[in-house]
């Protein structure tokens, strides 16, 4: 009862804050700037900001109207520079998932290797330490030059940025498997491969999944920047294209969708982490 009343109270505060924000936004963009008298012909060229004191920043009503249009027609396609926001998001999500899944396939086995072998741990450590702090976008020119395909280059950038958190978390999870569980496997004469799958993997799974959750977050951050650079399709390109169109409304809508999709991706991984977490 106490919990549900807390939930309700929190929801009310959230709603109140949101409404307050919308009201503040509405009045902030009403436009009280001084207007100048000018020639009507010249006024046509100058636009509403100069002639009526209207702010270039759209208000919540403008954004709401446009948002509804986007929600009603998310997948329209009027040529290269005019695609529905759903299509753009789909492109971005597809790139993120491709790069991310390749990174999972690479990072988890290598993380296991590093975690299980002291030799490999020491041998690979310098590479990991140097490569980890490199901004993923710094790889972009190199990727564009070698791959010669902008879409695959952005997938590569996603791959390289999702790799490290998963690699490091997997290695950490594998090395910190409790000695007593490994001893159980030893006294039962369990072989290396079976030990890896029946003891180490389930024991390290929560840590590995946490690494995967960090990675998907970073990948979603990076895809926007990567698509701004390579252009063509994707939500990052959409943001940049609408900036060039001076459509602040669409930029705001894109920001909103980027946040929502990022939240959904994060929640999916959080759900998966909960599935493999065991109580002790």
């Amino acid at each position: 009862m106490a919990l549900s009343s807390l939930t309700w109270r929190a929801a009310i505060v959230t709603l109140a804050l949101f409404v307050a924000f919308l009201i503040a936004w509405h009045f902030a963009t009403q436009g009280l700037a001084p207007t100048q008298q000018m020639d009507p012909e010249y006024a046509k060229l100058m636009g509403a900001t100069a002639t009526q004191g209207k702010s270039a920043m759209p208000g919540p009503l403008d954004v709401g109207t446009r948002l509804w249009e986007h929600i009603c027609h998310p997948f329209y396609d009027n040529g290269p520079n005019d695609k529905g926001i759903g299509i753009q998001l789909a492109f971005s999500i597809a790139r993120v998932l491709t790069g991310y899944l390749i990174a999972v396939a690479v990072a988890v086995p290598i993380g296991f290797l590093i975690g299980m072998s002291q030799l490999m741990s020491r041998a690979l450590d310098p590479f990991v330490q140097v490569l980890k702090p490199i901004s993923p976008l710094a790889w972009m020119p190199l990727a564009l030059y070698t791959i010669r395909d902008s879409s695959i280059s952005s997938i590569f950038v996603i791959f390289i940025c999702s790799l490290w958190p998963m690699l490091i978390n997997t290695a950490f999870g594998v090395t910190s498997v409790r000695r007593e569980w490994l001893n159980v496997a030893k006294t039962l004469e369990v072989g290396t491969l079976r030990r890896a799958f029946t003891i180490i993997l389930p024991a390290a799974a929560p840590t590995i999944l946490t690494g995967m959750r960090i990675s998907i977050g970073i990948a979603w951050l990076v895809i926007v920047a990567a698509e701004m650079l390579v252009g063509g399709t994707g939500i990052g390109y959409f943001v940049w294209n609408e900036w060039n169109n001076l459509s602040i409304t669409n930029v705001i809508i894109a920001i909103l969708f980027i946040g929502l999709v990022g939240m959904i991706l994060d929640q999916l991984l959080a759900r998966a982490t909960r599935l493999v977490t065991f109580p002790e």
Binding site: R178, E180, W181, N183, V184, K186, T187, L188, E189, V190, T198, I199, P202, A203, V276, F278, P279, E280
Partner: protein, 303 residues
């Protein structure tokens, strides 16, 4: 029947210490156990009991010496030697059934699932956990967890059971019940058991032989106390036996004082290959009594 089943032959454990040199936990340790015998080892913390047990289990390697089990020198861990860990070491992501099944299927890799489960069920029933098969370790009490550990160890039909203070984390009531269970199971199955304990009463109730270990470093096996109590002793009656306190006092005396002084007093006289066997309250107790007198005499003379 009275053959040397387990023979610890001159094992030593040394660790390198910071700043060069080595620290010797114990060295030249000799001990043999017979098939079906229940041996307890008692000594203060840090004397190397757990290290010795881990060597016996094959989880640790001795710096010198060997352990021979059933005429074969051991090389690493084996399904013949089941370990019951102090912390029960259950796999928390598996159920009770899953934990026992894991052991059974490790021993008999080509068994089909129903056969594996049937055997696991048998041992879950044996330790009195019928009905809790699908629970996870986190849902079990400490005593139930250790029962699963015992079921898991027994299910692989080991030649030896090695127990590292299996009941030390349990409350007194649960400990008593589990001691009864272990004693019943060991008598029914004729298990050979090597157990570490800190609890003198537990040792007297369970063990046929109680090995006393002096304080580390350089710990020695001081003597072997043969339990003079009848084989069919019951936990509720055992402390009323006339010899009970003779044995108990002997062991307590050792732990309180002699474990510290034994090495110094018996330098040159202690033969690690031929440890004094003491039967408190019976004929051989005289041996120990004599050495007590000698010790006291020597002590008095020095004043």
């Amino acid at each position: 029947m009275a053959r040397k089943f387990i023979s610890i032959e001159g094992i030593a454990k040394r660790f390198p210490v910071a700043g060069g040199g080595t620290s010797t936990v114990f060295q030249d340790l000799w001990l043999s156990m017979q098939c079906g015998e229940f041996t307890c080892i008692i000594g203060h913390s840090g004397c190397g009991k757990t290290t010795a047990l881990n060597i016996l289990a094959g989880l640790d390697e001795p710096s010198a010496g060997t352990v021979i089990v059933d005429n074969q020198a051991i090389e690493g861990p084996s399904l013949d030697r089941a370990v019951i860990f102090q912390t029960h070491a259950l796999l928390p992501w598996r159920t009770v059934m899953g934990n026992v099944v894991y052991a059974v299927s490790s021993k008999w890799r080509n068994w089909k699932v129903p056969r594996v489960r049937e055997r696991a069920q048998k041992f879950i029933d044996l330790v009195g956990l019928t009905g809790a098969e699908s629970k996870r370790p986190a849902e079990l009490s400490g005593g139930m967890k250790q029962r699963v550990g015992i079921a898991r160890a027994l299910s692989i039909d080991p030649k030896i059971m090695l127990m590292d203070e299996p009941f030390s984390a349990l409350d007194a009531l649960t400990r008593g019940t589990l001691q009864d269970e272990v004693r019943r199971i060991c008598q029914e199955t004729g298990q050979t058991v090597f157990m570490i304990t800190h609890d003198v009463d537990e040792a007297i109730y369970l063990a046929d032989k109680i090995v006393l270990m002096t304080n580390g470093p350089n710990a020695l096996l001081a003597e072997i106390v043969e339990n003079p109590l009848p084989k069919d002793r019951a936990r509720t009656e055992v402390h009323k036996h006339p010899l009970y306190y003779v044995v108990r006092n002997h062991i307590i005396d050792f732990l309180v004082s002699r474990s510290k002084t034994f090495a110094g007093e018996n330098r040159g006289r202690h033969d690690p290959r031929n440890i004094t066997v003491v039967r408190p309250g019976l004929g051989e107790h005289v041996l120990a009594a004599e050495s007590n007198v000698r010790r006291l005499g020597g002590h008095a003379a020095s004043h």
